[in-house]
Amino acid sequence: MINLSRRDILRSAGGLLLGFAFPTSPEFLEYNPEGSSDRGADGEWLGAYVCIDPHGMVTLRVPASEMGQGVHTSLPMILAEELDLDIRAVRVEMAPNSTAYAHPSEVGKTQLTAGSGSVRGWWGPMAIAGATARAMLIEAAARRWAVPAESCTTANGKVSCGAQNATYGDLAVEAAGLSVPHATPKPRESWKLIGTEPQRLDIPSKTNGTAVFGIDVKVPDAVQATVLHSPVFGARLVSVDDTEARKLPGVIDVLHFKGSAQGHTTDFVAVVADTFWHARVAIVSVVAKWEGGRPDLDDKVISQELLAGLDQRGQTCKKVGAPARAIEKGVTYEVPYLHHATMEPLTCTAHVHDQGVELWAPTQAQSFTERAVAAVLGVAHDKVLLHTTFLGGGFGRKSEVDFVVEAAQIAQAVGKPVKVTWTREEDFAHGFYRPAFAARLTGAVDAAGKITDLGTRLSGPNILTRFLPFFLDGLPFGFFVGENFFDLPYAVPNQRLEYNLLDLPIPTGFWRSVSASHNGFFRECFLDELADRAGVDPVQFRLNHLADSPRHYNAVKKVAEMADWEHREGRFLGIAIVESFGSIVAEVAQVRIEDHLSGATPGVDGITVHVEKVWVAFDCGRCIHRGIIKAQAEGSVGMGLSVAFGERMSIVGGASATPNFYAYPVLKLGQMPEVEVEVLEGAPDDPGGVGEPALPPIAPAVCNAIFAALGERIRSLPIAGQSTKRGKLFV
């Protein structure tokens, strides 16, 4: 890594990147408020994020991927605030892959959109960058007019001093030539834009078909491809018979690749054709033989292995006080593998030529991808240029590198630009699933209704074993896989947390809210069981244990008020609160139970659970755009409810048995409750994440509400199909 001066670091990103010796690509992620597409910004760069052209058009560059969480509006707002710009008058551009855009956290120089961390991570640096660019523009004006810089003001893209003014466009060249000053961002009290709710800049293009997603990229002379992997997880490719496939119309080639030595990809077959449709038809005729994996694995075996992990002592992750030993005798909770099911299937366009590798991908992980492609293709990493498009959903699946590395390998073999599009069946069959997981929980409450002991034993795969194999040797990891128990907000004097790792060949990965997606469910349902045992109201029970966690306390109080918990006669409510990614979210769900009448058999054959309304109290510390936060809360509730209601990946013969949406029921509009969100600005100097935290509480809130309605506990997901005394559950 070259040791760049501060000036170079601030200025070089634009210059170096625009100086790549590549043919300029026609598709570069960008949009402006008018919705048209064109090239990367051309003008004077004041730091890594701000470019001003001679006409005064300001381009703000965003280092994070836009996948629906609104960062292509919220992050530009920080820059626009500091530069006193009208957010509707700027052009926004996605950053290419560069360490200049590495996420400002401790985790290495990595450009990555994940962990609900974009605004949290980039707020500070972007505010400074914006303030610095403004200071340079003012300095340029001050020198030109021979006035003190302190007498200059900025508004609407102009610097003024008394009667004199000049546009940013007019000043940009002089400003860019100045030495880089130290500048401090505006104080909160001066904010004019942050805290308002401007319309998202990318929404118009997403209502008229012009937004370019990865799957929409068009590169001249590109051919199309689709891919096939082993149906059985972990199996190797033994032989390929492509005789029939090659006879089909449009087929250019049939290729196969061994999984990469670094583990970025598994063995796969690719059909290259003139159109995706021709490739898709042809791949069905490829006869591929695979060997290995675990064909003995099915849902029953997986469940047995998960539960076996609950019957043995696990590695102790946390011990407080003198907890009781008998976790074996607790209650059992279990949840299945989940698929991300992004609406845009996996896709990537790649072009490998003698100057390097050019990629267009809907990716969350620019740095990991760049490094993986460089390693697998054997090229220098600065020869990899990655254009990030809009993502049609990410949720963690598109932070994997497999689909991009495969496209690069195919492009290298074909020698032309190739767009790879996965079928939905391949997408379902080759996910990095949210692990199936189980928990056994024990607890004791005293005569005063306080929890005296909480014992938790967790069993399941650890998604980090793929990256850090030493987890298999049992190094401490309670903070990760034991999230929500490791950092218990409730005052409990005796606690034990154990974990038994289950190692299976089914690929697992980061799925929206990660460990909190299962641990939040286990914990908040069990907490309700303890409240019931103590004979205390579930809201009051939580408040009684949160005296030392004031933000949790306030969120519970707030959401209970919103739902009018105290006057809930005739309504069935359930509450849950989960902290994740630096935010605390409390939710109350209201359910209604109705007899279910099926046409198949006369009379009532079960009961339908309707979730009528959900209240959300969202403490994310500092806020930029409450409208975006509310949208994320609504969406997280929708996705978490979908999981609670009906989602599970089924495994048969060691392979996915869930080929498409007809076997994986994602929530429909008719099942979506009304959602009311209040954003609590809890601790303003401690910003929390927004994209994930509202997902974990919904499943336990709904199951707790079902208990209020039926008097029966739901201890596994999905809800649909389970038996109760009143019959089978429908959703």
Partner: protein, 165 residues
């Protein structure tokens, strides 16, 4: 060579008549606003209007639209799109072309749909969970139009499936 009316102009495509309309639109005709989500008619991301009726183009062969009128999101100019912006509906945006095509057809068939009608008609999948805002945008567009009740369409509309285990 299959030919049909696309967004009010005549087109003719040199393609196998069994090719799904979705891929003819995206590949031969270069219109990428209509999206691929599942290829099995399950998700609705590929929804276009066929003679005004919302139709899943991934399971409609191009021969099936011979001589008929197809409208895609690129050819739509409908008040529901303004409502979509006013309510800030899209998150990732990928399913939204299909959602808008379905919603526009709903409002053209029923000027003031009630909640039950909206639930039955709008079966497109949204993974980001924008459903609450989709409902609001449809209500908003219905309120804005205030047109007299339109006659029922001549062609049958697809019957939706409800969520059951």
């Amino acid at each position: 060579m299959p030919s049909f009316i696309l967004n009010s102009r005549s087109v003719s495509v040199d393609v196998d008549p069994e090719t799904p309309l979705l891929w003819v639109l995206r590949e031969q005709l270069g219109l990428t606003g209509t999206k691929f989500g599942c290829g099995a008619g399950q998700c609705g991301a590929c929804t276009v209007h066929l003679d005004g009726v919302p139709t899943r183009s991934c399971i409609t062969s191009v021969s099936g639209v011979e001589g008929r009128s197809v409208t895609t999101i690129e050819g739509l100019d409908h008040p529901v799109q303004d409502a979509w912006i006013a309510e800030q509906v899209p998150q990732c945006g990928y399913c939204q072309s299909g959602q808008i095509m379905a919603a526009a057809a709903l409002l053209d068939a029923h000027a003031s749909p009630d909640d039950a009608e909206v639930n039955e008609w709008m079966t497109n999948i949204c993974r980001c969970g924008t459903y609450a805002r989709i409902r609001k945008a449809i209500r908003r567009a219905a309120g804005v139009r205030m047109a007299p009740e339109l006659p029922e369409p001549a062609l049958a509309v697809p019957s939706p499936t409800t969520g059951t285990p």
